[in-house]
Homo-oligomer: 440 residues x 2
């Protein structure tokens, strides 16, 4: 029988996250922070995560309790050989497609891989009602809703009761099921800009009908955490420690390719801030840095926010400029974006680590067609012929890119092993599929 | 580390389905069919399934291609020790809770376990466009929508293009995402009663605003298949061969308990027609029939359709009486039921095998409170403390029952191992959760 699904045993779960920073050929450009920004970070970011953010250790140990939680949420996750897609695309037998099944995450995406450790370390720090005198809270923002879902889910699993999630109004207003999902797990979900924060108020004063955006929501979440003692702000992408936690994806994938006895020639995933992409590819980047094998790393972006085609310069992570500046490929932190259905890959800049590797020429990038129909069609074909649940719209960009690479290789008659990451499922995005694919 | 998740390897996948019929102490009462009913069955039921329906072999071999498909859709599925629930319910250390994770099925429920073989055997029979001259179709009905989703998904995976699903109007009208899901995988979904069939027309003549029900939808699907040459009607529950295919659940669970070195004292699941319940418990029933161990089998039903508390007599499976009569616990095949959110366990009768075992005293039953709030609350607690996706409303009945049994055992200070089946997920049922739990 063909080996279609490559499973790892629970005992194969990686015991360490992989930190690429010390292996980079030159130092990663550091954050530039005013004293105020510095103080804010120190106040609202979970101390253990801040330590990881600056760490020069290549391997960072995953605590036993977190390993147990990773097992509880279904890790290690399978790697699938995409025989269905290979057949549908009529690929020659020397082009192999594989995908990592991050969509099996209970709240719907890879985001849980970092929500759990961030909240776990926050809890270790004394945050939990009854333990701290203040009853501190966890705050965050969410864009498409996957990060908020992961935070709500992780917090509840770790028994943290007070979770506040700021959500851009233009998405909050129509994603009812996603909102229910977060509330089902106990989170408080707030439409942003809100009157809760001065950042929100100042945006509303300028434009009472402001549709909200991720940058504003980040500013609000940060301010909320800063103004409630003992509270922490957790982040879903961009920062080094977020990508670090996500390397669990790539480390598992590497172990799975070791079982197969081959390595990918091309790795593809979608990229907004860079966390699923980074988590998937960084453990393989070392292979390239060591000149052991040439692998192409392809970041698929939306035409709406192709930040890796922006400028490589220092910029803020949020709209109000509360965060330090980081050296990133950016479209500018005040940019307004045309909304798309795959809202989770709309962000003005790419993670510093990703940007650095892009600047070195190690990461390639291109954008998918702007109307998204072809992308959604790729998502549907994948679900149908691979026998999987509908992928998240964002993940459909990965699939679209992998299909493009496979067809290119077929045209050029080149043997290729192509791996892609399917970061989330689309059970709560069916209305978007219906619209784009004109389902009756 | 605690063993929280009991995995089986792919090579541990059962190679046979378990047929309990030849092991029953007295013969299972046979169907009574008029010649017309007999002819209909022969015409629209997949021949291999009809053979299995009547089989006296205890073990029925699963074809290799189906084993490959079972692996593709994620089987074997994990059994979880419910440490989170045990802690939340403050159970003593000698009460253990386990659950089988059928909700990990890509289209959302255990129904896929039988949709795949039924359509696989239909295809073997020559049904597939281009292979048969007629371009035959697969028809079926669906209630809550899980069965229709499984059929749409399985048919597409097996490359069968023409799928027609009859859906009671009162559910069709509001479950938009579920409808999109079926269409996403290529099915045609029709509101029932419809003008497509004479069964539908005659109901509409009597009452043009008829809200539809499962019995009517079955009649329409049967008639549609019968009137299109080379077409088959597939069934989601009740029949012997459906329960047979579902025994993959219990066979895996048995292998998992063998690894644990213990057996459950109580097995709990929800019951509508009986397919998830039967699939889960039947491989354990032989243990009881052989007097090897006493196990209580508890069927949790809705107050709206507690068919196991009905009469044990011959009755039809559908509204129009197109199907043969089978000896079942029934509320009568013309009964109108009060709609509930867990629509998938609303059916007028329980499967003949289940009914027989109930009559023998081997299966127990009770109903959950009629307003369902407590049931939905059980579903939420499960998802939150076990770190799982929201369970299907139907599966929340299993969880509610398992919690009740655990608390009873705690009260009586009895050591117990309790296993329950969580048959589906509730990603497409969040609106029902919001209503019942009054989420903002």
């Amino acid at each position: 029988m063909k080996v279609r699904r490559i499973d790892l045993r629970q005992s194969d779960l990686p015991l360490y996250w992989y930190n690429i920073v010390p292996s980079l050929p030159t130092p990663l450009p550091q954050m530039i922070a005013t004293q105020k920004q510095q103080e804010l970070l120190q106040k609202v970011i979970v101390p253990e995560c801040l330590k990881q953010e600056m760490s020069n250790d290549s391997l960072i140990s995953i605590p036993d309790e977190l390993l147990d939680l990773y097992i509880q949420i279904g890790r290690p996750r399978p790697l699938f050989r995409a025989y269905g897609l290979e057949e549908t695309l009529d690929l020659p037998s020397n082009i192999h497609l594989y995908y990592k099944a991050e969509f099996l995450s209970p709240p719907g995406s890879h985001k849980l891989n970092t929500a759990l450790p961030q909240i776990y370390f926050a809890k270790k720090c004394g945050l939990s009602r009854g333990v701290t005198a203040t009853g501190g809270r966890i705050t965050t923002e969410t864009g498409a809703g996957q990060w908020g879902s992961a935070v709500a889910f992780a917090a509840r699993l770790l028994n943290i009761p007070d979770i506040t999630i700021y959500w851009p109004k233009n998405i909050y207003d129509w994603k009812h099921e996603r909102k229910i999902f977060m509330e089902f797990y106990g989170a408080k979900v707030i439409s942003s800009p809100s009157a809760n924060t001065s950042a929100g108020k100042s945006v509303l004063e300028e434009d009472p009908d402001h549709p909200g955006d991720l940058g504003v929501a980040i500013s609000e979440g940060l301010e909320d955490a800063a103004s409630h003692k003992g509270s922490f702000y957790v982040l879903g992408s961009v920062l080094n420690h977020v990508l670090l936690h996500q390397t669990i994806i790539g480390l598992e994938t590497l172990a799975q390719f070791n079982i197969l006895g081959e390595l990918p020639d091309i790795m593809v995933s979608c990229l907004g801030g860079g966390s699923n992409f980074g988590g998937f590819v960084l453990p393989f980047v070392q292979t390239v840095l060591k000149n052991e094998k040439k692998i192409r790393f392809v970041a698929v972006q939306s035409s709406s926010a192709p930040n890796l085609q922006g400028e490589y310069r220092y910029d803020n992570a949020d709209h109000a400029g509360l965060t330090p500046q980081m050296k990133m490929y950016t479209l500018g932190h005040k940019t307004k974006f045309k909304p798309i259905k795959a809202g989770g890959i709309i962000y003005h800049a790419a993670a510093p680590i990703i940007s650095y590797l892009r600047n070195l020429g190690i990461i390639e990038t291109y954008s998918a067609p702007s109307n998204e129909r072809e992308v959604f069609e790729a998502g549907r074909v994948f679900a149908q012929v691979e026998g999987q649940m509908p992928p998240a719209p964002e993940s459909a960009y990965s699939i679209w890119g992998a299909i493009k690479e496979a067809l290119d290789a077929k045209k050029k008659r080149e043997p290729k092993v192509i791996a892609f990451n399917v970061s989330g499922h689309g059970f709560l995005d069916l209305a978007a599929y219906a619209e784009k694919l004109e389902l009756r």
